[in-house]
Structure formats: structure tokens, C-alpha cells
Symmetry: none
Subunit: 238 residues, 2 copies
């Protein structure tokens, strides 16, 4: 069901948690699991706790670094306890679910760190967004598979809600229309020299973030296209 979601576990210490995560995924319709340097995998303990979802473990990919595990052109979201100070846009779990639902043509890496230490700063710097799951306690923290379960449930639920007839059914631009605009914009910025091989990826991502936040409607994206077309005509081509 959620083919566009890659759940990534980094430096997991306890193989049982990997099995529990597989179960937390499978029961809500997720099946794509990536493991970065798991302490023990494959593991009979993981298998035992995956109850009915062993196929997810059988198809899990194992990597030796987070950067290798991250699929390209995906939006990467790191989960972290609430006190991390990193210069990343942050979202609540609910906001993330809504975001993914509204941008469903994209693919996503959803990254969870080690049970005790979470994600490192290096890991977080590879993320586009940070999600903190709100909790009451300051002395205890969510179990790894519990965090994954809250994510998979929230996303499942958000996708499963029959269109609330209330929400302003604006004529939102489709992701295809947005992508076409982004590619046009990038193309022009290549011509002006603003985009080059080095910054291409990070800029494309930035553009995605900026304009996706705007929840563009069809008529808005048409206007933006009109702007670009008018610029294109007047551009000096070297």
C-alpha cells in the first residue's frame, strides 16, 4: 500500500526491535524496510517478534551507511526526541502525515536512530525535515517500534479518512503539474548559471520544500508558469 515509504533504521542495537518494527509496519500496510548497520541481522529474535510480517524482514535491505540507504530524489524525514537543536524545519506527526498525503507522488525516507542515542547530527544533516513525537514524560522515551507504530498508524489513518467534505476542496495543483513547474524553473536557473552540478540536488529539494509549503492551486501554478515563460523569452542564451 505505502510503496513510496522507505522506513530506515540506523544502528539498531536490539534485533527484537527490528522484528517489532516490521510488525508495526506490516499491520498498517507498509513493507519497505532499510537497515543501516544493525547490530544483529538477520536474527531469530527479530523473526519471532515480526509475527505475520516476516516477509518484510526477508526483503529488508542492509547498508553500511545512512547515505547509501537513502534513496535518491526522496524527501528524507528524521525522527528525533524533542530536544534536538538542528537547523531543520520540524513537523508534528500529524503534519507529516498530512504532508505525505498531499504530496503522494513523492517518495520518502523515514529515518529512526539508535534506541538509546537516536540520530547523530551527521544523520540529521541528511534529513530535510525533523519530526518530534510529542510525549508527556521527560524522564522516559518512546520505544523504537512504538515510534514507528505511531507513524504508520497516523499515516494509515490520514489516508483512510474519507475525504472530509468540509475541508476547502480547492483545486490543488497535481504533483505532476508541480513537478513540471519545478523542472522549468530549474531549467531556467541552469541557463542563468544559478544551478550547477554541485548545487542541483540541494536546490531541487529546496524548491520542492518552498513551493510544497505553499499548497499551490491550479490557477496559482498557471500564473507561476506564465512568469517563467515571460522570463524565458527575454533570457540571453549564451
Amino acid at each position: 500500500m505505502f510503496e513510496n515509504i522507505n522506513i530506515v533504521l540506523v544502528n539498531t542495537s536490539h534485533p527484537g526491535n527490528i522484528g517489532s518494527v516490521a510488525r508495526a509496519m506490516g499491520v498498517m500496510g507498509f513493507n519497505k524496510l532499510s537497515l543501516v548497520n544493525p547490530k544483529e541481522f538477520p536474527s531469530s529474535h527479530a523473526d519471532a517478534l515480526s509475527v505475520g510480517c516476516k516477509n518484510i524482514l526477508d526483503h529488508a535491505n542492509v547498508y553500511n551507511s545512512l547515505s547509501n540507504a537513502l534513496e535518491k530524489n526522496m524527501i528524507t524525514v528524521g525522527f528525533s526526541a524533542r530536544d534536538r537543536k538542528v537547523p531543520l524545519p520540524s513537523m508534528s506527526l500529524d503534519e507529516l502525515a498530512t504532508y505525505i498525503k498531499s504530496n503522494n507522488s513523492y517518495t520518502y525516507n523515514i529515518v529512526f536512530g539508535n534506541e538509546r542515542t537516536g540520530l547523530t547530527n551527521d544523520d540529521l544533516h541528511q534529513c530535510d525535515y525533523l519530526v518530534n513525537i510529542e510525549t508527556h514524560s521527560t524522564t522516559s522515551s518512546l520505544n523504537l517500534s512504538a515510534a514507528v507504530q505511531l507513524f504508520t498508524y497516523q499515516l494509515f489513518l490520514t489516508n483512510n479518512i474519507k475525504k472530509k467534505p468540509n475541508t476547502s476542496v480547492k483545486d490543488l495543483a497535481t504533483s505532476k503539474e508541480r513537478d513540471y513547474y519545478y523542472s522549468e524553473l530549474i531549467s531556467i536557473l541552469e541557463d542563468t548559471g544559478f544551478v550547477n552540478d554541485k548545487n542541483y540536488k540541494s536546490l531541487l529539494k529546496k524548491i520542492h520544500i518552498i513551493f510544497n509549503k505553499a499548497m499551490l492551486e491550479k490557477d496559482e501554478i498557471n500564473i507561476l508558469h506564465g512568469m517563467l515563460a515571460s522570463i524565458r523569452k527575454k533570457l540571453i542564451v549564451d
Copy 2:
């Protein structure tokens, strides 16, 4: 925090699950746990998995029947997989959380059955309401502590929704910075002929709407400025 919620586990087979339930409770502010005929309790395995919430296990009450565990004058809610056919009013998890929040002077027994077999019909007949947590899979089911985690999180969240002042106090662009960007953009679009006297006002308004929706941060508006500057340099001026 949730003193009026008594979480009741019936016939739990694996002591580790009791520990995980304690953690799933504690992290969201719940502390009242009742156990009906646990297979093994107290248990070092339960203690190990309760991470930071062992006090909940220390204060848990153990009973030899569900009826003894149910506190009187409480509303009793049974959790069960979706296919149970019992003549009980049923609620979604979300509805339950809203119900409890709206009727907060009552006290509640929240009852979870055995890992494999769930609640028996006899158990269910002692309940006032039935809750099925929606899932995607028909072949796998929620882990016991995962079900408790979804309940405690949902209730915590429902009670905790204070207007987040858009939490992430991002380094948002000031209105002055935004206005400067808009004027630059308009200026270029005048040069390309896209903006003219007739559409000037409506376009300026559109631009405001689009980019204000994006809640631009400082670094984002800097990038947008960079794009414009690169375009400006390559523009043919009539």
C-alpha cells in the same frame, strides 16, 4: 496526569509485553496498571522493558478475575480486533479519546486481552464499549503494547492540543524581507512584459498569497533572491 484511567491487561502471556505496556503508558503520562492473571509477574523481563517506567510495574495491582479488576462506577472499554461480533456500542480510537476528554470526571477501565486470543466473550460482556483500532492488514495484528501505545498517545494528544503557536519558531523572513522580494520579482516581470498597468494590482496580490502561504524562512527567501539576481543578469533589456 491521567489518574482516571485504569489500564487492565487480561491473561498476558509474555512478561516483556507488560514491561512494554508500562513504558507505553508512562511516556504519555499514564500510571495506573491492573493485571488479571498474568502468566509471569513480577518479572525481570518486564522490568527490563519498562525503561524508565518501572514505578508503574511496582504499583500495578494483580487480580484473579476481570470482574475484580474492574473498578466500580467506571466506564469499561474493551479493545478488540475488528472482527468481533458482540452486541456492544463500538467506537474508533479517535472517538474514544474525544469521549474521555469530554467526560473527564468519569473514571475508565481500558481493557486489553491476551496477545493471541484477545478478550473472551465473557470479558467483553463486562464492557460498556468496544474499540477496534483500524488496521490495514488482515493477516497480521497489532502487538499488545503497540495497541496500548496508540491509545495512550491518542488520549494524550487529544488532551494536549493547545494552540501550538506554530511551534517550530523558525527563522521566518520578516514582512520587510518578503516585500523586498516581491518588489524585485514584480520589477523583473515588468521587464519581461508579464506585468503591466492592468494586471499589476491583481498579480501583486497573487504573489503575496502564494509566497505568504509558503511561510518563507530567511534562508529560503535568500535563495529566491539569488534566483532572481541570476535571472536579472541574463535578462535582455529592451
